[in-house]
Symmetry: D2
Subunit: 343 residues, 4 copies
């Protein structure tokens, strides 16, 4: 049984605390938050758990094996580093840190101390994303062509990060899990339309190794909520619509077929032939992703496995967020990521 | 009554011929197409109309006041120029020509001869786009923030143009009509996934004067057909879903409100306040857009009015298509359009 | 090649004439309608075809093998009988006649003269209904439990028939094709809300042999158009949504499982166990149903086959319409149809 | 502050207990349930609240002003009667009792003792139903024509009641609130398809005073979940789709217009004229209905107001359920409710 302390009990911390309490293999030991109101809410919902305004004390508690960090992003680095140095395993909200330099430092520290460092890329643990990974791995989709995601809604504006760091981070985390290919270049455009607020919409294109392209459309100021991803493959295509209550993943037996090796002469004349087949919606059992994730965290701590959403994946995602931000500031100027690969 | 000859009776020509016959104010006089099969289809559907394999003869016919060109794009320039020089008014399929140089030449020729030159940007004549223009002009939306369009489907691959010239042209034409603001810069990304075929997906961002951004997502290889445009304004937002059989345009009374002139100090602390109000779907009477367009063409010829989709708008759209293609070839490198404005 | 004359060129006649002209195996020879406006429209669209104001002359034409009747329902009997007596095969709009007595007379006359008598139950010839029949016949659905259809829209009011004879006739025809079981009893409710007009909404329940129930909800005064049928079976369930542009038929691998033969004691304690599986949308090639139907009509004439929608099926449907009308007038009082079976 | 004890902590009791704790004006004092597992769950979620296996003890507690009953339906009567006789106000789950005789007895007892007796018809307290009532009361819909509800899903089978008592009860409660008109007659059909289980689908038509008809389609064995109600009026029509996450109520400006008093001669010739106008989706603020309901319960106790969902409304609904069951057993035979009105 892994004893866990939760730091931060604002917007997302209560979910983490509840799931730590529900998951098998973990016990909720303590919650820390500087706000008296947050402490009071925590005490009501989790009688018997230590409530504190000071997270440092948690690090000295020998009953606590691991720390879950749900504070504002700017505090992640300081707390995670202190926790690792105190010998605690760490689960940290996304994005792992505001800079890749800090993320790299945490990854190194965890490796040195052989501690589990995991980032909360929750979508990776949903039944839908697990099913899509399985469809790709078993060849159902064939060679991947593209990933095209629309993740838009009305609100919530964040005051410290722009829409890329708030919403695109989800798709970059999903991509990191689904497609192991390296990103060669990134181009991002976008704008802020509310004076005094960061960018509220952005469009990001990633050029991946092997010719796959990914495109993310994120928007805080859309009249409707859309959470839809299209994945195009040479054999089949997937629509993942997370707003559908039950039929979230649909597989379209649809593709383009043609003679694979036409002569130069023929290429000019051959038109692709379309194939329209059935649509299939695999049943996906319902389980709360955050509970799955916390149980995975506990198992990784116990067995020494590398988490699906390791510190390294958190670092890779932050590097892409940095590159996207850099491109956005230059109206889409493509950022070459080969130096990053070399590093 | 304007006598009209239609050149080209392949994919779109039959629609034009049918609507010329149906519209009030126009008479279908002749159809020309080099293909015997096309001529035979034309003869069956339009008994009494002259059918020819040679379009030049049409230009000499004094009963023909105007020419509608529905040939492959590469032939537009030669035919349109000859028609103008023969004193005929011209309606030409989109895009007006494959290059802006040719488009500019046609515009100049039409101006010199005081002939009507119009491009078939059909969407401009739909009830939906007319209603959206009215909503913008009467202040319903407030200041525009963004235009975000998804225009994707499965097929048809074109063998001579890429997906930008085939699909994005529609949105550029709609934008040209809805938003008179100049485009300052354009960034486009995309890829071709089928060997020997042009780009099948692309993502284009336009930076317009006044801070408006426009984004177009076009894709020939999507598992589902989507035709949806979001328009964000400071007072209200619009969703235009062209796949809806009747409720195509929805107006969301949704926006962000805050003190308009906060001090520097306040800006940092003020969070936008969300306003969630009603949704309203204006009734849009059904009329075929192409008939409306052809009646407008006849009226412009008769009264000397400038068409809503004049040769100049066709030229502007082709300039944006050229800039988007240039950016696409450089993975999103932004193309500065100020020189174009100066010109 | 079967020569066909079309009688009636009002609301539905033009579709029939067009499809007779398009179908392989049939030639459109003549069109008769008393209205000069209808004759003029027919002449424009079908140059070369005999247009007449008098249908009797058609029966004397030896080049005409078969008659298609698209007049108001009240004229079906007189014309169909005359045509049969003149030795013509007959295709007649639904409902075949306003009374079962007349329908039975037509059936007998056609049998006596060995002529093909077919009723235009168009839905039977759609790819969707053909696919559903295949799913039932191959055991995909298992034992059928129920058929539940909602067929509602705004308008068109008919002045001579109520909503049952206008809309429910479609579902009764589909049922007649899908489920050969006899109807044991029928109960119908409904009302007319517009003074001087017939019933504009109705709800009909059919009790079929073997425990299957069918329910039809028809409404001329609904704010939205719905065309959806649920079919429940012991192994799988079907949703047929005719408003979907392409994914019209979905098969849900969903059912209730339990020990088939529990003892009396056990029955009380056993709760059904739910099974939730995948959803599957078979691809259905697009072909206009009316063309398929007319080609089937020609084949039946040539080969002497019994049509899928024979005069007998038209008669069965009219008997159900009569029983439903009778029940509707008595606020749902069930009509026992066993005498009908005995007959 | 009204002290409340909750009896029954199985399927719905936990919701009631949680909302009593959250609502302003009420305090959760005690929970009773015979099951040790339920007691343990209650103790975990509500530390500080008395947990008991015996509900009788609650009636003696002077700190408890009111009892909320969430037991199986068959126990409602005994507990509610005992609570009223002990001087407690009572909120009881729907349906109020299994028979109208028992419901009438509870109503009489509460009246005699001037205690508040309220039934948990939760939908009445939703923002959607409140908005619909407002649209009817302010004349937006005009004269009502019909109410047509589809309330179907897959599971849960109840072992003691059929689908009418489980699902149709919701619509009857909504109708009781929206339309004060008396029900003149009721016809119900349906069937049970699972051996040893009660009816799993049913269709109910109500004939109301003034010509309004209501129809309810309920089904436990449907492949998809639908919760949609159409309300037709002479001026406008409403679609209430409870599966929509935010746009639940849409108002269609759609109707039939014609000269109100045509002569007998004219009636035959006048066809209704259709009016197609805008669609409007009023914004409905989100608040949990059960909290609203419990706050209303507390206010009624304090001020002596009659609840919107009084014991009388619970009794009226049970009378309709009984009549529907009676008709269902006779395959739709209409049940005349005039004697009931006289009573």
């Amino acid at each position: 049984m892994i004893g866990i302390g939760v730091i931060g009990y604002g917007y997302f911390g209560p979910n983490i605390a509840r799931c730590v309490a529900e998951a098998s293999g973990t016990t909720l030991k303590a919650i820390a938050d500087p706000s008296p109101a947050a402490q009071s809410r925590a005490a009501t919902r989790h009688p018997g758990v230590t409530i504190d305004d000071n997270w440092q004390r948690m690090l000295a508690d020998p009953e606590i094996d691991a720390i879950a960090i749900a504070t504002p992003t700017r505090l992640h680095y300081e707390i995670a580093l202190a926790a690792l140095m105190a010998g605690k395993h760490v689960l940290v909200e996304k994005p792992i840190t505001p800079t890749s330099r800090e993320a790299a430092r945490l990854v190194a520290e965890a490796a040195k101390r052989r501690l589990t460092l995991m980032v909360d890329h929750t979508f990776v643990y949903t039944g839908a994303v697990q099913k899509i990974r399985e469809l790709i791995d078993t060849g159902v989709t064939g060679n991947l062509f593209y990933y095209d995601s629309t993740r838009i809604n009305f609100g919530l504006f964040q005051d410290d990060v722009n829409v890329i760091w708030d919403l695109a981070v989800h798709d970059l985390a999903i991509l990191d899990y689904l497609l192991p290919a390296e990103t060669l270049a990134i181009s991002a455009t976008g704008a802020g339309h509310i004076k005094g607020s960061p960018e509220n919409l952005a469009h990001i294109t990633l050029y991946l190794e092997g010719g796959v392209t990914a495109h993310l459309n994120v928007n805080w100021l859309a009249p409707v909520k859309i959470r839809r991803t299209l994945i195009g493959g040479s054999r089949r295509m997937i629509v993942f619509d997370d707003m559908e209550p039950s039929e979230k993943v649909k597989v379209y037996d649809r593709g383009v077929e043609f003679d694979e090796r036409p002569s130069q002469e023929e290429i000019r004349r051959i038109l692709p032939a379309y194939r329209m087949g059935d649509v299939w919606t695999p049943h996906i059992p319902v389980k709360e992703a955050l509970v799955t994730e916390i149980e995975h965290f506990a198992r990784c701590i116990t067995n020494g496995e590398t988490p699906l959403t390791s510190g390294e994946s958190g670092l890779r995602v932050v590097r892409l967020l940095e590159a996207a931000s850099q491109s956005l500031a230059q109206r889409g100027h493509p950022i070459d990521l080969s130096p990053l690969r070399a590093a």
